[in-house]
Symmetry: C2
Subunit: 325 residues, 2 copies
């Protein structure tokens, strides 16, 4: 039997984690021969509820689930972890401005970055899902100076999967027939789901769809899909977000399929003229546990404007958290 | 690519289904080369909410998810299905007696049995999870006379997994080291989780545990685990129930591991002296999509009394639904 991998999940009693933990424990993410140790973090007032989830995990008799621990202390939950899913974040409350939210969450992620820096495995892979995910990820990186920034990313895979699904439905094909979708920028409604490089069964998507459908329907639908789900379900996306987190980590670990790429928000190295250090969603390929930003894609005027809008939002968020960078 | 299998799920907007659907669509149950069609049933007032879940399923861009349909009409949802997860049931409301609940639900399952009889594939495998699951299953069978009763079962796999997990923790071993656990009887607090045949790393469990621990701690803890989870979580078991539903269907379809058995509630053929036709949880082995009740286990006096208690409860439930049998 392999040595167990240690996996931290924050916000572990929340809805996304409830959809995530059981799929990790079943072996879906790390494989059928890889035992896992779950190290769950929650705020003190959610620890009782978390205990109920631990009981449910026990009730599955998962052969691969080596052990589970719970804590409200990042220094304990992150001890020696190989993977960290940072899902927990303060939701926007009544009367709260977006800027209040960014400040409060940045503080949480600064502390978690420091804890990761102190106690996590040096090769830990950190996925930030808690919103505002890109800026939270940037703050986490800045507070973990002894860990390579390339070990951190924020999640735009849900947006990516939404874009793949919507284009597939529009063209009447399977999701597996769609390649080279990119979601650029911030995981917010300034994100840019880009179809100009997309292929559908090997054909350029732009030859199959109307340009107005793309700009007037596709782009705003993907940008606002999260809000639409909340409106219909009365709850925010949980199972699809957990699914994207699994996809993200699985691709990062196992690699992208030959001839395709995925979207991940990673620290910008200046590619495509984006300010260095911003956590920006790019098309990436993964191999041997590392990602590389896809280079030299042609960016037309429409796309460039979209990228710049999302960059501007991220620069504005950066200003609001500058005391933690 | 294989022909898609058609899977009906009732109560599709509920919490158990929310944990189940995404795992089915990901390929975890039927395999990575088997496309699936989801045919979702809900009551009219839950169809809007169900639409939000359909959107989330679309947002996963599952390559194996061929299509999804929703309906409030069993004759549509069950059309040609190969597998049916009957999860939806009326929950017990304020002031409702258990007998009221049994009557209301029996009516629902009688209608669903009739619909399965009319439109489902003749080899459909039906798993009843909605409570009271055993009697609901008996009613479903009685109302589907053209389908082999061996194609119906009710779920005690959650109880089974709970028992495996608890014995493993008590003995400090992995769940995969525990074999030959049986949950007998009704999926209620008269169920009997039986350790007298259980093996832990090949050793008789009764040699490793104290008899009083078994009768005074183990049995009542497993019998009342569901209520305990509700107390702690404030919600009933959902993810662990969905997990058990996957385990149940997977074992039924793919077979039991060599040298082990599982617990399934199936129509009694009189084995172990249980009234024929009652849906009773037994130890079973599965092969080629069929189950067989494990025969000739020694039943001691303590066990016999437990089996008889659970049988008596099922006979009492049977009386309450006799107009639908």
């Amino acid at each position: 039997m392999k040595t167990p991998v240690k996996i931290a999940v924050t916000g572990a009693a929340g809805q996304i984690s409830y959809s995530l933990l059981f799929r990790i424990a079943s072996g879906e993410l790390f494989g059928n021969d890889q035992p896992v140790i779950l190290q769950l973090l929650e705020i003190p007032q959610a620890l009782d509820n978390l205990q109920g989830i631990v009981m449910e995990l026990e009730d599955c008799a998962y052969p691969l689930l080596d052990s589970i621990s719970t804590s409200d202390e990042p220094n304990i939950a992150f001890q020696d972890v190989d993977y960290a899913f940072l899902i927990g974040a303060r939701p926007r409350g009544p009367g709260m401005q977006r800027s209040d939210l960014i400040g409060t969450n940045a503080q949480i992620f600064a502390e978690q970055g420091q804890a990761l820096n102190r106690v996590a495995h040096r090769n830990v892979k950190v996925l930030v899902c808690g919103n505002p995910a890109n800026s939270n990820c940037m703050v986490t990186i800045a507070n973990a100076p002894d860990i390579d920034p390339a070990n951190f990313s924020a999640m735009t895979r849900l947006d990516h999967n939404r874009a793949v699904g919507m284009l597939a439905r529009q063209c009447g094909v399977s999701a597996s027939d769609v390649k080279h979708i990119t979601v650029w920028g911030n995981h917010s409604n300034t994100q840019y789901p880009d179809l100009f490089h997309a292929k559908v069964k090997g054909q350029a998507a732009t030859r199959l769809i109307d340009e107005h459908w793309m700009s007037d329907t596709f782009v705003p639908t993907i940008q606002n899909r999260g809000a639409e789900i909340i409106k219909i379900r009365g709850l925010s996306s949980a199972a699809s977000a957990a699914n994207a987190a699994i996809d993200h980590m699985k691709t990062w670990k196992n690699g992208t399929p030959h001839g395709d790429w995925v979207s991940m928000a990673v620290p910008s190295d200046g590619s495509y003229g984006i300010t260095k250090g911003l956590v920006f969603s790019y098309p990436v390929t993964c191999q041997n546990g590392n990602y590389a930003i896809v280079q030299d894609l042609e960016i037309n005027k429409f796309s460039l404007e979209m990228l710049k809008t999302s960059e501007a939002e991220l620069l504005d968020e950066k200003k609001q958290v500058k005391n933690l960078l």
